[in-house]
Subunit: 338 residues, 2 copies
DNA sequence: CTGTTAGCGCTTTCAG
DNA sequence: CTGAAAGCGCTAACAG
């Protein structure tokens, strides 16, 4: 029977620098140099050391190194619990992780949902557990970002912060995406375009609203806005309200695909054919968007698209190589709904 | 202009135990005790220390603590890059993280896609960076699991390993789920039931196949199996083959919802009405399953359902409190497709 | 109940 | 190019 240790048990003894040094008949310092590919070490000595390392299966102890260098090579990836099906967050996490690992960093995943968790995150950083933070969009992200910025650890945000600050961020062009969607609708000759928008405290939603409104305005059209939550149900309810306000409504842009799916449903119930009577455009291009009937036309956010590029941009900001914000283009994916 | 440090810069000087001790006029040991809520310390001294801690904003240095205790309170969460829209993995990650954080652990996220990454993971563990590993299903999970098991760090798998070992795991009842789905179809009087199955090297797929086959066998029915990949397209192709082999086919179970979605599509193209002519049942209950036409009947895996319970079970195994495998029930979600 | 004393394993001047 | 020595900040016996 294999002995299995509990979490708190500690580990069996592993070789240390000392062991390797003895074996290679050199000093610890020299081994350290070799292991870190650091200073100049004579080839023969290096050979010896490397052999000893291999033979002993030596792996440097991270805690000791970290204590001495005051670095951890760890980046905290902070996110909130998204909808369990939030593919966007999943993709971002994947790519950010992949890029960071490629750069030799560890990734510590942290959830930022409660204020308790905010405290934990700040403590974590102050305990020196990470030397960089990537903050994905969260409800209370802004205050958290401010607190983290004060700790002096490099920080990069995904998504423009509500209050502008010096913290670098990477964002999708929500404004441009909404504008493109609206133009698309206008080009089709749609004259009464409604907007179903999600939680307005989200900066992304605000930006989408702005892009829509401005485009409409430039075209000399009146906006029709209905506020909603972020579920299909609330999207459906919003369409119902929109229709009762304006019977001639012939197009709807929703600020999320979930809302759009609800709009689709409500349209069917109201006896409006999509896209003939009513064009429907969503935002985000979630997976389900391709499976609705009719398939949803939507704005694809770079996060679900160029997530890799985005991750790299974040990393370069973490490393202090750039501090300017980046906005990645969003593009319209035309399917059957509008 | 705020000075922003690069990742490698280190941090400004923070107070240490020493500082706090001086301020509270006690020894470092005492401060340590207070901070760790550890031994018995007289109330007044504790007060003093706590005040000093607060005033100085002291936060213990994790590396130093880890070096001294040989623990990290960190658990590595290892996953492979799933389909970018893999909600299941996302949910599991969320809940495992949440539970572990609740238990005061850090979570290090690691990707296990390449053999290079396997090496990195083993090194990570050997460097003492984590004192527990949660391994989510991955293509090469088994060899990795074996290597990790040899490092003596507590390990728990999500999903039964292909080759049985002593490593504890938590899994969904794939066999039972497939059996339930098949019985459901049989009860409807379906007589020619096909199986569209995904990558057969996946243990979960094997289990689903087995549950289906056995149930069919007990009912004295012949199986009709078509192999597929994991995309909707391959599911569609599989149905086409199934239909050409057996025109009377009146039901299909797919081992994943993605496949089932393809089946739905192909059924429509073949002019079979679902569920009248052909019942279709998926597996997994992904989000899109609710939005297909008709809405997909499917087997809900606990991971997308009782993910929280699952996470807790994993934790208790990591802590060595249990070493037995757990299999969580899967249940049929009946919608319109079958 | 509290202080003293050793380390934990690695990096990093500083000499040589 | 290499070694000696001094920590990094904390915990854990062991005395008292």
């Amino acid at each position: 029977m294999v002995r299995r240790n509990g979490l708190g048990d500690g580990r069996p003894k592993r070789p240390t620098l000392e062991t390797v040094a003895a074996r290679a008949k050199v000093s610890r310092a020299t081994v350290s140099r070799v292991v870190n590919g650091d200073a100049a070490v004579s080839p023969e000595v290096r050979e010896n050391v490397l052999r000893a390392v291999k033979e002993l299966g030596y792996v440097p102890n991270a805690a000791a190194r970290s204590l001495a260098t005051r670095r951890t090579d760890t980046v905290a990836l902070v996110l909130s619990i998204p909808r369990p099906d939030d593919a966007l967050t999943a993709a971002v996490v994947q790519y950010v992780t992949s890029v960071l690992e490629g750069a030799g960093k560890q990734i510590t995943l942290m959830l930022a949902d409660t204020s308790e968790s905010h405290r934990r995150i700040v403590r974590h950083v102050e305990a020196g557990l990470s030397d960089g933070v990537v903050l994905l969009p969260t409800d209370g992200a802004d205050p958290l970002a401010e607190r983290l910025a004060r700790t002096d650890v490099p920080l990069v945000l995904l998504g423009r912060p509500a209050i502008s600050s010096l913290v670098p961020y990477v964002d999708a062009d929500n404004t441009g995406g909404a504008a493109a969607a609206t133009e698309h609708l206008l080009r089709q000759g749609r004259r009464h375009i409604g907007l179903v928008c999600g939680p307005t405290h989200l900066v992304a939603v605000q930006d989408r609203m702005a892009g829509h409104r401005d485009t409409l305005q430039r075209a000399g059209r009146l906006p029709h806005v209905a506020l909603a939550g972020d579920t299909a149900e609330s999207g459906a309810a919003a369409l119902t309200r929109l229709l009762s306000d304006e019977r001639r409504l012939d197009a709807v842009l929703a600020t999320s695909d979930h809302l759009a799916i609800g709009v689709l449903r409500a349209a069917a119930e109201a006896g409006r054919r999509v896209p003939d009577d009513l064009a429907v455009v969503g935002f985000g291009d979630i997976e389900a968007a391709a499976y609705t009937t009719p398939a949803l036309t939507t704005v694809r956010t770079p996060a679900s698209d160029q997530a890799m590029a985005l991750a790299r941009l974040m990393l370069s900001r973490l490393e202090g190589r750039h501090a300017t914000p980046v906005v990645l283009p969003a593009r319209l994916v035309t399917r059957s709904s509008g």
